[in-house]
Each structure stands twice: as C-alpha cells, then as structure tokens.
Amino acid sequence: MPPDEHLDKMRLELRRGVVIIAVLLQLRTEHYGYALRQALEAHGLDIDEGTLYPLIRRLETQGLLTSEWREEDRRNKRFYVISAEGRSHLKQLLTEFDSLFATIDTLRNGRTR
C-alpha cells in the first residue's frame, strides 16, 4: 500500500468516530439530509451523501435520532432531530472526546496529565 493510501486509511479511521459526534451535535436542531450535509460542510466537515444518509438512518434505528416526513418548499423531506437517548449518548461521547483530545494535547506538548 503506497504511503498516501496509508494516510487516507488513517484519516478515514480518525474521522469515523468524529462524524457521529458531529452529526449528533448538528442534529440538536432539526435538519433534513441534504441540509445536514451542507451544514456540516459549512463547519468544515465534508462528508459524502452516500455515507451520511445510511449513517443517520442507522442512528435512528439505534434510537438516537427521531425523524418525520414533512413538506417544505413544495417538497417532501425527511427531518431528523436528536432524541433524549441521543442527547445522553452525545454527552458521554463528548466527555470521551474531550478526554482523548486532552491526552493528545498533553502528548503533543510533552506534558503529563
């Protein structure tokens, strides 16, 4: 595997967990799929639709999101929003993320926690 492919694979693994947190954070306010992708992109997280839509559907199956079909701008759209269980999961994931981030930060700066 060429070095670039190694890096791409590592980047993908690094993003995988972060994307879930980003989606849950963004869905604290209601979005439909296309708008969610654009909102995440506006925040600097470019995620392709072929990955995002199955992901939000899986999160909904797990009970972390709720959804409903509604008409907006003369189009039927499926709107997603975080559920109570999703908020609880998000809180724990953010705690974990902060801890990891702090660890990486201390490692990068050569300090101990």
Binding site: Y34, Y53, L55, R57, R75
Partner: protein, 300 residues
C-alpha cells in the same frame, strides 16, 4: 431525470427490503435538491445530475451501507477463525493421510499421486467451507467466543522460546505423511517394479515406520497446540537422532540395489540418487537438531 431514475432502480435492487421505499424517497429528494441547486448555479441539467450522482457514489456501495453488516467474519472473531482454519486443515490432511495409510492396504489397492491430491483438495475445501460457515453463523447470531478469554498465563510455563513456524510445521506433517504412504507402497510415484532393493531396506522398514510415524504425530500435535514445549523440543531431537541412526546403515550398506533393468534408470545413477537423498536428509536432521537445541540450552 432519466439518470436519477436509473440510478435509484439500481440502488433499490440492492437495498434491504425493510424501509426500502423510505430510503429511495429520501435519496430521490436529496438528488433532486442537489440537481436543482447545481442547475441554478449555471450548469446544464444533465451535468448537474451527473455531479449529484457522483457525489452520492456507486449504487452497490451506497446500497451496501444500508445493510446492517458489511462483513462475513468481523475483526473480533477473525483471529480465532484463522487460527482454527489452519489447524483444522492440517488435521484433515493428517486424517486423510492416516486413512490412506490404514484403509487402502486393507482394500488391497494402490493410489496414484493425482488421485490423492484431487481427493485431498476436495476434503480441504469442504473443511474450509464448514469452518467458514460456522464462524459466519457465530458472527451473524451475535454470539461471542470465549476462546481468548479462557487463556491462562500459567500455560506459558510449559512453552519454550522457540517460535512455531506454522507453515513449516504443516509442511512437515505433509512430508511425513507422504513418506509413510510411499514407504508402505500405498502411494506410488513411478513404476518401480523393475528395481529389486537390497536387504538393508528390509532391516530398516519398521524402524523408519516407527520414527517417521512418531514425527508425524509430533508435528501434528505442534500444529494443534500452536507452540513448542520443552518436551516437544527434546522429542524432536531424539527422533532426528533416530533418523540419523537409520541413515547410517544405508550409507554403509554394500548392496543398495540388486537389480535395475536397462530400460529404466541405470543402476549407478540410482545409487548416486539414493546417496544424495541420504546426505540431504541427514543434513536436514542435523539442522533440526540444532534448531531444537538452541532454545533448550537457554536457562529456564
């Protein structure tokens, strides 16, 4: 919107039945909105469609992501699968050779190399199939294996520092087994009825059977256990010394071959080939003894 309709048709064929219409409606809505946004920015409708579809990705890839599981055997149980598969295949190989060794003499028949390999391959393929099927079932039923959890560090007491080369050991099982089949005239590589062996071969017939038979069992047990114990290293040394003990009278024998008809390999060449094989096996045994001695000489 022909491209989008064709795309959704392809995706729909691959989606899980549950929620299929819902997923398609969502993809359609997203694609239409994407096309509309790109079209408004000045691109042609067709270019906008192509762009939106490219952003979504290949139908197989997209539809696949809606399925709950994307693999047959996941990383949690794959090491156990690989470990067991290798060992089961070697065990099947051993059973196959053993059956050939004991069953075919009873049937008073001989085997040819091609038949043995073809039948062996079929047995190995079936073995691999059933092991894989078992692990796929474990993966899909959500069961967990206690295989690794049961491991106890105290078992290391019996082990040695010599790493077990699985491929080499499996190869040894095969070579030992094939030798036994050939030695007992069950497996025939070439027509050798024209060669009349000297009396030395009768003298070493049973010792060779016993020593190589024990080696076959030792190597098979190593494959199953997965490590060299100190006991196994000592046995390896003793058995290799036994092989050297068998080779010595062959090397010193006056008459290796009594007769070899002129139409086949000349007698002198045949004798040289035997001496060459004896020398090669002796060197191999000495090398194996050295490899077993080194870890044994390290302090406990």
């Amino acid at each position: 919107m022909t491209l989008i309709e064709n795309y959704l048709t392809q995706v729909s064929q691959l989606l899980p039945k549950e929620g299929r219409d819902d997923i398609l409606a969502e993809l359609r809505q997203s694609l239409e909105e994407g096309v509309s946004t790109t079209h408004e920015s000045g691109k042609t409708k067709r270019d906008a469609e192509i762009e939106a579809l490219a952003r979504l990705g290949h139908p197989i890839k997209v539809a696949g992501r809606y399925h709950p599981q994307q693999y047959l055997i996941g990383p949690a149980i794959f090491p156990a699968y690989r470990y067991l598969l290798g060992r089961v295949l070697v065990a099947l190989l051993a059973v196959h050779l053993a059956v050939s060794l004991f069953l075919f003499p009873a049937l008073e028949t001989t085997l040819h190399m091609g038949d043995v390999i073809a039948h062996l391959l079929a047995v190995l393929c079936w073995g691999a199939f059933f092991i894989t099927l078992g692990f796929v079932s474990v993966e899909y039923t959500g069961e967990t294996l206690k295989f690794f959890d049961r491991w106890n560090a105290q078992t290391l007491q019996q082990a040695s520092t010599r790493p077990l080369e699985f491929g080499d050991t499996a190869w040894n099982v095969l070579i030992d087994g094939l030798f036994l089949l050939w030695w007992n005239n069950i497996l025939i590589f070439a027509d050798s009825t024209h060669i009349l062996p000297g009396p030395i071969w009768d003298d070493i017939f049973w010792p060779a059977n016993v020593i190589v038979g024990l080696m076959f069992l030792l190597h098979l047990s190593l494959v199953v256990r997965g490590y060299w114990s100190r006991w196994a290293l000592k046995t390896e040394i003793v058995l290799n010394l036994g092989i050297l003990g068998i080779l010595a009278p062959i090397a010193m024998a006056d008459t290796l071959v009594i007769e070899s008809t002129a139409s086949e390999v000349p007698r002198r060449i045949l004798i040289n080939v035997i001496y060459g094989a004896v020398a090669a096996i002796a060197l191999w045994s000495l090398w194996d003894i050295r490899k077993a001695l080194i870890p044994l000489m390290r302090p406990l």
